[in-house]
Each structure stands twice: as C-alpha cells, then as structure tokens.
Symmetry: C2
Subunit: 269 residues, 2 copies
C-alpha cells in the first residue's frame, strides 16, 4: 500500500508536469488509478508540497462542480538569476562579435534549454495580464515566443517579413528599422489575430524599437492591443526608443563591439 501511494504520487506529478495549464479533475485520476477521490485529494496535497520545493512550478486548484487541478510552470528568483547569468555569459563569449558590429545570437536563440529558461521568466512576468495570444515577428524570437506561449497555454502568431501565398489574405504595414536603416515591411494573415485581442509581444533584440512599434501598429489594424512587451536584450540604453513600455531581460551597452557590457535587469527577477 505504501508503494502504491508513492507510485500514484509520481504518476500524477508526471502527468501534470507534461501537460502544463491543462485542467485535470479528481475524477480523472480516480478512474485512472482505480481509487477514491478522497485518496487522490490526499495525493494532490502531497504533490503540491513536493512541487513547491523545486521552484519550477505549482498546482492551482480549479473551481466549479468538477473541481480539479492544473500545473502552472514557474521559476523562482534564484533560478531566474541563474538563467540570466548563464545567458549573459553566453552573450559575452569572445567570438560572438560580428565584423559588422552585431552579435551572433542565432545559436542561443534556438538552443532549446536556453530559450525555455528565458521563456519561464517571461511567462512568470506576464501570467497576470490575462492575454489571449503571444505575437512575434520572424525569425530569431520565435523560439522564446513559442515556449512562452506553451508555458502560458496561449496560441502564437508569427508575423512574416514578406507576404506568403500560404498565409491567405494578409495585412501589411511599413515600419522604419533602425538597424537596417530603411523602411521595411511586415505582413500577417488576417486569420492570425482576433479582433480586439490582448497580445503579449515577444522579441529577441531591440535597438531602436522600430520592429516592436511595427508589431503594435499591426495589432492596431485588428483593434488589438499589446498587453505586454518582452524583449531579451535591449541595446543602447532605455531612453529614446520608439516604444515607451517594455520588459527587457538584459541591458547591453557599448557599440556591440569589443567594449560591450551587459547588465541583468534585476526588476524581472
């Protein structure tokens, strides 16, 4: 009997952790493990305590006639700091500086372990915004945006640089990109954004804020709004950007050349 209880606790933990933000009723577990709801209720208490000790997630009780639980991924202050320190160290690796005064970041932005950690910080930051969707513009921010969407249980829309036939009818806007020093276009399927949606914008890099301003303009075309803006790195200080309110994780100073310095934004920890 002892073993049975511990095994059940492990099985419940496994199912919940593999399915973040999905509601499970006590009845579901009772049926699955062939025991009374009261036993499951005791198991859940125990799983809750066990999860709290990890700092990686917690259980939320869902109300209503069924009554159940949902696993919400989380990240502790200590783990947030570790994630950002590792990220900062990777940014500062000596061979990242490209001749053109840019940093090579593609490997970091598509490294699953790294981007999942970063997404945890955004998800925690934006969990209370009651958003309907995550939105980004291709390409390097897609990984972090997708993991953030997964952690918050939201759909992701990806704005394209050019209009594609596979997107159906699209809305396009022009915006000024400071880094390319020219007018650029972005384009999104009319189906991708619901009228009046509340979106969280996620992007990997902000210099002048032009592309995020572009995403905001795009949202406005749908009567939608940006409930939050998360950016992994902001370069050149927080002043004189095209957008007012945003949440950066790292602050980069210097010319993205030999003398760059990177600070962690303590406000997000």
């Amino acid at each position: 009997m002892t073993m049975k209880k511990a095994e059940r606790a492990a099985a419940i933990t496994h199912l919940l952790t593999e399915n973040p933000n999905r509601d499970f009723s006590l009845g579901y577990f009772a049926d699955r493990f062939g025991c009374a709801k009261s036993s499951i209720s005791d198991d859940i208490k125990l799983v809750r305590t066990a999860m709290e000790s990890s700092g990686l997630g917690y259980l939320e009780t869902t109300s209503g006639t069924k009554g159940g639980v949902r696993y919400v991924p989380y990240v502790s202050k200590e783990e947030s700091l570790r994630i950002l320190e590792r990220l900062r160290a990777r940014f500062l690796e000596p061979d990242r500086v490209l001749g053109s005064g840019f940093l090579y970041l593609s490997d970091i932005m598509f490294d699953p372990e790294t981007v999942k950690g970063v997404a945890r910080i955004f998800a925690k930051q934006f969990a209370c915004l009651d958003a309907d969707m995550i939105i980004t513009v291709e390409t390097k921010g897609i990984g972090i945006a997708l993991f953030t969407a997964e952690l918050l249980g939201l759909p992701l829309a990806v704005i394209r640089r050019e209009s594609r036939v596979s997107e159906g009818s699209t809305v396009s806007i022009n915006y000024f990109s400071g880094s390319a020093d020219r007018i650029q276009q972005m384009s999104v399927s009319k189906r991708a954004i619901k009228q009046g949606a509340r979106a969280i914008i996620i992007d990997d890099f902000m210099r002048g804020g032009g592309s995020i301003k572009g995403i905001q303009d795009m949202l406005a075309e749908f009567g939608a709004t940006a409930a939050g803006v998360g950016v992994v790195v902001v370069s050149g200080g927080l002043e004189n950007k095209k957008i007012k309110s945003f949440t950066p994780l790292l602050l980069m100073n210097g010319d993205e050349d030999k003398n760059i310095s990177i600070d962690i934004n303590r406000a997000v920890i």
Copy 2:
C-alpha cells in the same frame, strides 16, 4: 516516513520531467533530499514504474562511476494515433482552403500543444539516429523543429530565406521551389553547422521536395549529412519527389482544394 517517501518520489519525478535528457546522479538527489543513495535508488525504481504507466516518457540509467538517471520523453502507439487523428481533423476543418489552392496551416504549426505532440512522434522516430543537430528552413516548421530538438536534447539551426547581417558570414545556395515555381535562395550562418555533422531535417510541408533537397545541398556544403528527414504533410503522393528518403506523418491527396483527402502514415505509429 510514508509521506516523506511519496513526496520525494513526486519531487524527483517533477525535476526529471522538467529537465528531459539531462543526467542526474543519485548523489544529487541524496544531497537535495538529505537521505541515503540507497533510498534514492528505491525511489527511482518506483518513479520508473509510475512513468511507464503514462506512456509519456521513461527513465534511462546512465552508466559510469557516478551512476544516475535521465528522463527520456516518449509517446505510446495509442497516444501517437490520437495526436495524428487530432492533427488530421484540424487540417480538414472547412475554412482552411485558401483561394490559391493552399491550406492555411500557420495557426496549427504555432499552436504549442499541437506541435509538441507532433514533435514527440518525430523524436521517437529519430531517437536512435545518433544525430548532432536538428535543422529546418524558416518559418512554419520552426516550432516542430524546436520541440523535436528539445525532446532529443539537440541544438537547432534555422536556415534563412535571405542573408541577414546578424548571421555573420553565410553560405547561400539556390534551389528550385515547385510551389513558388521559381529559383529561390536559402542562406545560413557559417557558424550554424559543424563540419561533418549528422543532422535531422524537419519541415512542415512537402510538395515537390525542392526545399528539403535545398537543405541537403546546404548540409553538403559543410560536409554534413541528413541522418533523417521528418515532414508533417506530404502532398501529391510519395513518388516523383526530389528526395528519396523521408518520414511523413500525414499524406495529402487531391488539389489542396475542395476534394482533399488526408491519410495518417501508419508506419510512424
């Protein structure tokens, strides 16, 4: 004491599930929970049994002086079939057919729950290939490629449609795209692919096979090879493609118009 054991089993399950493909030594858990390695060893046995019942993943014992365990995500035959049936049903939703004879798939390809399920099938399929990396070409396949990379503990490289300054020096190739009916270019940073790498190619849609042939040509520029090719949907039959060997999940027939039919590829289940 009983409670303590069950709580420990839940905590170990939680840590392992949240960190797929990462090695944990028995000593790590013993320190963390303040108990003997022999107790942890008993807990692990129990967690192993509990995980087997879910069909979502299993524990692999790692050898060496330290000795430990690693969580490997998995998907059962029953769950694979459920995932593909849901995917097929979404593809057949009535309003997906675009006037141009294409299907609108962006919402599906960036829905975290859907793409994570699909990625589980690819990860299971390709786990034994001993690959070094996952590779895709932007944009719609990135989500599935990233989750596959996460599940297999591999890095992801994303080939771009046009060369970008933030990629540093790049290698570009031309390829013939049947769907665009013209020569197109793809471009990847020289840093993104290691000489001689074994890559798994992941893409969302194959019509003629031109873009996957392009990725193979790109790999060849680095002396790298495609150890496997996973495609979510193949249209127009399996014959007369530009590449010989690939693993599709769904087979689409008809003109991608009103009369399309979609079959599940039973070989991947």
